[in-house]
């Protein structure tokens, strides 16, 4: 065996094909997302119009002013929002799975979703102001995680299981309170329900700008932690014997993933399944290493949610399906298919 062979013998690498496929998938999904909708835009014109928007470049796209408005104020913000939310949910899911060494962990564990759901319900029911939805959901999600973390530590020290159990308890509690509040305010039921099912409806770029800073910071932190997540896979004691400050890594990763999730959920509602399906599909196809799973989750998470959104707004035109319904409806069978194919006799 040569040293080159030793380098090659590492399974934590996948070569250049999967990332390139990921980038292409993102671009294709974005292109379809920008052209398809209630008003179909000509794909060539869309590309020209986008090129035209680059300062210093002038191209005549042939789009009318109304069509240009649809493209820049409705389609593109929605496509970009979908990409960010998808990337964030997928990478947060992958990170939770790594840091808790639990394949079932996802952004909705630790009570993030339930806490955010409670926050949103309170915003709708008590204040009656849907503009307060995002901050309330955000505060609810973060509070739930802080409580989960404090509870988990107080009962089980550093154990990952105690943290997950605490998350389950916090989620159950938040859901109970949420149900009670809803029952007292039946009038807002429909609005809350539509938020719970997830939606990417957005007008203009406000939601994107609100979400982008959190998403960017969290994604950079999680991306930087990918090698350490691999070290954590040999257990807390052994990782710490290798000089890793396990509690600190866990805290940093959990805070980053939760921040991003809470921000995404406050904008887009509860879009389930992305955080489980995307990282697991990547794991099944390309192996165990978080050096592979984290970057590919960002790409394929973005592509997946953009595609799901296209399905959500075209399948039942002129009505729209909640995107959470689409991710689960298509995601679950696809995931089972991958699971069946890959988990054969090895």
């Amino acid at each position: 065996m040569t040293q080159e062979a030793a380098t090659e013998a590492r399974s934590a690498r996948v070569g250049w094909i999967p990332p390139v496929v990921g980038v292409v998938a993102v671009l294709v999904a974005a292109a379809i997302g920008a052209t398809v909708g209630a008003a179909d835009l000509d794909p060539g014109s869309v590309v020209k119009e986008i090129v035209d928007a680059i300062p210093g470049v002038v191209v005549d796209s042939g789009l009318t002013e109304v069509e240009t408005n649809i493209l820049f104020e409705i389609r593109l913000p929605r496509v970009v929002l979908g990409a960010i939310v998808g990337a964030v949910l997928a990478v947060a899911g992958a990170s939770y799975q790594g840091v808790f060494r639990n394949a079932l962990a996802d952004p909705f564990l630790l009570g993030v979703a339930a806490g955010a759901g409670l926050g949103a319900t309170v915003a709708f029911s008590v204040t009656g102001d849907s503009g307060l939805l995002a901050p309330f959901a955000f505060v609810g999600g973060m509070t739930a995680v802080v409580v989960t973390y404090a509870l988990g530590r107080s009962v089980g020290g550093r154990s990952a299981t105690s943290l997950i159990l605490a998350g389950v308890a916090v989620a159950a509690f938040a859901t109970a309170v949420q149900t009670y509040v809803l029952q007292q305010n039946v009038a807002t039921l429909r609005e809350v329900y539509s938020w719970i099912l997830g939606r990417l409806v957005t007008v203009g770029w406000r939601d994107v700008w609100e979400l982008a800073p959190y998403a960017a910071v969290a994604t950079v932190v999680l991306f930087a932690s990918r090698r350490l997540l691999d070290v954590l896979s040999i257990g807390d004691d052994e990782a710490s014997a290798l000089g890793i400050n396990v509690s600190r890594v866990r805290l940093v990763v959990v805070v980053a993933a939760t921040l991003a999730t809470a921000a995404a959920v406050s904008v887009s509602g509860l879009i389930g399944f992305v955080g489980i399906i995307v990282p697991h599909t990547i794991r099944l196809l390309f192996g165990w290493s978080y050096r592979v799973i984290i970057p590919l989750s960002i790409l394929f998470g973005a592509a997946f949610l953009m595609l799901a959104d296209i399905a959500a707004r075209t399948l039942t035109t002129p009505a729209e399906l909640p995107i959470g319904v689409v991710t689960a409806f298509f995601g679950a069978p696809f995931f089972l298919l991958v699971l069946r194919t890959m988990r054969g006799p090895t």
């Binding site: 065996m1 040999i234 004691d237 710490s240 014997a241 290798l242 000089g243 290493s289």
Partner: protein, 258 residues
């Protein structure tokens, strides 16, 4: 070198170790022996830094720098099934890498040397889950070697190895000790092998040091019978004592508290 000074460990107020004070010099091999629950693993873990303790563990004149001063082969290592052998051994390089750093050519070379030394090159691509017990044990040792720490703490390094592989692995450790001047501490249940390889043995019992000295001084019938609670016969051989367990007969089983 490694020095334990007045090290004590208690779980829930119940003392399980110590106070123990031992010093192991550069290039020395200390063998920890003693019955299950004697505190061998706990003593090792205090040096690794994963068990809270009283007293101090120091390396030369320094406090411990986790990962750099000591490499640890745990008794029951956690081996993720899907991880490849090379990647697993590469984890041993973790202490040498900064938060954002990637492995360098030197890291790959070190891993490659560790794989070769433990005869694992044919398994380089294999997932850990497909290895036999002995192969897995060698992979764990390779990871410890890749750490390039001056002190090696091996908790039952030969537990799941057949006699041939056990001797082979201990020979590798001995070579490294001589070549690189490593300090080696092993916990073992095979007393004969422990006596063959260690310069000095520490017989532990009930969290305390019951006897310490050269293998010939520690491996005596009275010492072992008293602390292992089984009949043991020692056969003197040119290379050191051979420890032979005897079957219990009638109520000859000695009372260890005696």
């Amino acid at each position: 070198m490694i020095t334990w000074r007045d090290v004590e460990v208690a779980y829930d107020g119940r003392k399980v170790l110590g106070p123990v004070s031992v010093e192991v010099g550069d290039g020395e091999w200390l063998g920890l022996i003693g019955p299950n629950g004697a505190g061998k693993t706990t003593l090792i873990k205090t040096a690794v830094g994963v068990t809270p303790h009283q007293g101090t563990v120091s390396f030369g004149d320094r406090e411990r720098r986790r990962g750099l001063d000591v490499a640890w082969m745990p008794q029951r290592p956690h081996l993720p099934d899907e991880m490849g052998v090379t990647d697993y051994v590469m984890l041993g390089r973790t202490p040498h890498l900064g938060y954002l750093a990637a492995e360098t050519k030197h890291d790959v070379e070190t891993v490659y040397a560790a794989l070769e030394r433990l005869d694992l090159t044919d398994f380089a691509r294999r997932p850990l889950g497909t290895l036999s017990g002995g192969e897995a044990q060698r992979a764990v040792l390779a990871r410890a070697l890749a750490q390039e720490a001056p002190v090696l703490l091996l908790d039952e390094p030969t537990a799941s190895l057949d006699v041939g592989h056990a001797v082979e692995v201990l020979d590798v450790v001995d070579e490294l000790r001589k070549d690189e001047g490593l300090t080696v501490v092993t916990a073992a249940h095979d007393l004969t092998l422990a006596g063959r390889f260690a310069d000095r043995l520490l017989l532990m019992s009930g969290g305390m040091i019951a006897a310490a000295g050269s293998p010939g001084e520690v491996l005596t019938e009275s010492n072992l019978t008293a602390h292992y609670g089984a009949g043991i016969r020692i056969i003197e051989d040119r290379d050191g004592p051979i420890v032979v367990p005897m079957r219990h007969q009638g109520n000859e089983r000695p009372d260890p508290t005696n």
